[in-house]
Symmetry: C2
């Protein structure tokens, strides 16, 4: 009798929310989800609609294990001794899973509000993945021509909502993205996948045999998260860093895409987050200890201190973790350049 | 033999520099002067060119006495038990001064760089005030049609640089200020005055006899700053609040104005301060822990934490005292509205 699992990938740094996000509290641990929940907690809550908590695996960096465990009571929180990439994280976590068990893989730091639709869609994917040797992915109908997203080109339709995958493409230019959105051939890659362990390793073996060989036979005793991390150190050491998209999905002939019926946002920037928040009469999003006087369409966040904006339009003003950020909303996807500069400064 | 004194008025709140300025560290205690000095320290340094430190009196609020004393070693630091206004502060401080001694009165929070010219001008005023029954004021040739300043209209010329005062006027409208700057009839009121004790009290008696009567005979034992403050409490209690401009200068027939030969700036806002600072190649003023990426003509101040600005033009971004301010440079004289809102919030 095979079982279902959920793997939540919670290793991201999330520097686009600097200074709110910090190495010790990256994006997935910020209260960016509905109800004041962290994104990780909201992802965990969605996962508990699919499987019991003790079959929810969370893969994160060693230093974030405790913080993740507090957010997700009852889950199995695994620490990667060194960050490789999604292919390794997924393959390593499968050590906890039986040969023909099915697993849903999902990022910890995306926003999805319609939990019922999500659960129904995942049920559909689980059923198919348990029955056939396929790799299930979820495509999001594009709301805009994003150039920072990965896209999936739909191939032959197998049913109303499921198609073969023709091609994966990362970060198109704007003209290309516009064309894709206009003609409906492409969907956003949600980063949510479902497959059986055996099917995944066969596909990984075809793409990256060294990684597949190292992790297919990965075992350790005692069977605890602590022993897992220690044993993984030696296994990861010689392996190249590669994403599951490159190592598996782009080359596998048996990848299918489901048109997601749930809402989805990767919350890749302050402006993406703000779009989903409640706005005041002037279109401002105020969070925490925030003051906005004569402002329109501004995001003002004060966490641990007052953030005050005066007479501004279309700006982001953040006070958090003893630092301040001010930029235009349209520049909020460039915040990473600031967090890099701030990190260099504190290191130097 | 009569002596010379200097009285530095250091009771201001200076809320225009929020969040850098705070009740416990108002504008005069911020390092806004050249050489990283506080404005109070720079004022004290200028005063020591005129008189020995023990004849420099500093009038401030009770809670700032210690901070002021640290900045001004050897000075006599007096605390007002309750803030009234400049007329009372000056009259009370004169308890330390002999009947015919002369005193120079100056605000603690203005910027003056040319200390030699300042000393020469003050010598001129002292000499005249010791010789004649006059109230000496200093007028600054207007560099721009400021509407937040007080102006002095020059009357009959008595010499190349000294004239009778025809009229004091506060905060003209822009058209009026423009006309005054164009025709050269008016100068800015620097808030710096020189007079003898007896001449001042006679003028105050004509304008506000109750205040003059109460403070002319003000005495206390022991003759210490502590006893001064305690005794002053009862004296101040019944008195109305009024500025020296209204109570004395505007109505006295013996007020003269000297054309100042020193530079002067009241540093009334972030933009006024920034004008006097060193700018980088993009016209930005960076102070402390400040990061500016792709910014032009911005003021970025980080005190006790990083202030980061990205892609901005003509903005003020400040991180200080656990709070953040962001506004346009041209709005920096409206910062008081923010500090008021922040104060209300922390009180509520």
């Amino acid at each position: 009798m095979s079982a279902r699992y959920v793997l939540i990938l919670a290793g991201g740094r999330g520097e686009r929310f600097w200074p709110w996000s910090q190495p010790a509290r990256p994006k997935q641990l910020l209260p960016l989800a509905s109800g004041g929940r962290t994104l990780l907690r909201a992802t965990f809550d969605r996962a508990t609609r699919l499987v019991p908590a003790d079959r929810i695996l969370i893969m994160t960096s060693l230093d974030l294990r405790d913080a993740c465990a507090r957010e997700c009571p009852g889950a199995c929180v695994l620490g990667e001794p060194s960050m490789r990439n999604t292919a390794h994280a997924i393959a390593a976590a499968l050590a906890w899973v039986g040969e023909t068990d099915a697993i849903a893989v999902m990022p910890a730091d995306h926003a999805i509000e319609d939990e019922a639709a999500f659960a129904a869609d995942l049920e559909l994917a689980f059923a198919r993945a348990e029955r056939e040797r396929v790799l299930m992915t979820f495509g999001i109908r594009p709301a805009s021509p994003e150039t920072n997203f990965g896209y999936i080109e739909r191939g032959t339709s197998l049913s109303e909502r499921i198609a073969r995958v023709a091609r994966f493409t990362e970060k198109p230019d704007l003209a290309t993205a516009n064309a894709w959105v206009a003609n409906g051939t492409h969907v956003w890659n949600s980063g949510i996948f479902v497959w059986r362990r055996d099917v995944f390793f066969d596909a990984l073996e075809a793409g990256r045999p060294a990684i597949a060989a190292a992790l297919r036979k990965f075992s350790f005793t005692p069977r605890t998260p602590g022993a897992f991390s220690s044993a993984l150190r030696d296994v990861f050491e010689p392996l190249e860093s590669i994403s599951v998209d490159y190592a598996v999905l782009e080359r596998a002939p048996n990848t299918l895409v489901i048109d997601a019926s749930f809402d989805w946002d990767d919350l890749g920037s302050w402006s993406a987050w703000a779009r989903r928040q409640r706005h005041d009469a002037s279109g401002n999003v105020l969070y925490g200890d925030a003051i906005a006087i004569d402002c329109e369409r501004c995001v003002v966040v004060g966490d641990g201190g007052t953030a005050a904006a005066l007479g501004l339009r279309d700006m982001v003003v953040v006070h958090a973790n003893g630092a301040t950020l001010a930029c235009r909303l349209e520049d909020s996807d460039r915040v990473r350049s600031i967090s890099a500069a701030a990190r260099e400064r504190s290191a130097g």
